[in-house]
């Protein structure tokens, strides 16, 4: 729903990486794996 969308948009970027929570190797690898074709 729109409110959930808004919540996730506030918390995460379009690649699924959190704006606020520090990342680690595993999380970053997961974020990178979701990027289909890097420009």
């Amino acid at each position: 729903c729109p409110s959930t969308k808004q919540h996730f948009a506030r918390q995460y970027d379009c690649h699924g990486d959190s704006y606020f929570v520090d990342t680690d190797v595993n999380q970053l690898k997961e974020v990178f794996s979701g990027i289909k074709t890097p420009g």
């Binding site: 704006y19 606020f20 520090d22 990342t23 190797v25 970053l28 690898k29």
Partner: protein, 212 residues
């Protein structure tokens, strides 16, 4: 010139090994020289291309097929010992051979040989040929052995470089991730502090508005 020496047993003297040497220039089908020896006497004969063609015709076989049969019987020397029967009459010097197929014998060929006046020379030449062949094959084996050792060394070398490359690739990835995480987490700390500041400013404004 091609040559092959093989062991045969004659039906007339089954307890004595005989040696059959077949020598030919280009192909077996273009004619060959056949030498038979028992280590004491020797007999020699030349079989011409036309004789081979004639035998093939007599047997209603294509020449190539017949030559192939000749090769299996006189040259190859492999296969079960009872596949071929060899006959030689020391009186008539007639050498003949048959092929056995399921209890039926087929005459394969028949050649006239001549007794050699100086068999010792033929036997010496045959032994020399054997010794030369042994030396040749020994040299080839040594060459192949060296080649194999070289190939194994080369393989080990590339395998080592491949393993180093794999490790290096993993190390590059690990190093990059570490750097990326440092930079990203710095940016996230910045975002968190800006959010905090924004909230504080907005909270302060609310209080002022409320007091007013």
């Amino acid at each position: 010139m091609e040559r092959k020496v093989s062991r045969i047993y004659l039906t007339s003297e089954p307890e004595i090994i005989h040696f059959l040497q077949v020598a030919w220039e280009k192909t077996l089908g273009s004619g060959f020289v056949i030498t038979l020896t028992d280590g004491q006497s020797a007999w020699i004969g030349t079989v011409s291309e036309s004789e081979i063609s004639q035998e093939a015709d007599d047997m209603a076989l294509e020449k190539e097929k017949y030559v192939d049969e000749l090769r299996k019987a006189l040259v190859s020397g492999a296969g079960p010992t009872d596949t071929y029967k060899f006959n030689f009459s020391k009186d008539s010097c007639q050498f003949s051979f048959e092929k056995n197929l399921k209890d039926v014998s087929f005459r394969l060929g028949s050649f006239n040989l001549e007794k050699v006046a100086n068999p010792a020379e033929v036997i010496r030449e045959l032994i020399c040929y054997c010794l030369d062949t042994i030396s040749e094959k020994q040299a080839k084996n040594e060459h192949l052995q060296k080649e194999n050792e070289r190939l194994l060394r080369d393989w080990n070398d590339v395998q080592e470089r491949f393993e180093k490359c794999v490790s290096a690739k993993e190390a590059v990835e690990t190093d990059l991730y570490k750097r990326f995480i440092l930079v990203l987490n710095e940016k996230k700390a910045k975002i968190r502090s800006l959010y905090k500041l924004l909230n504080e400013v907005q909270e302060l404004e609310k209080n002022i508005e409320h007091k007013r």
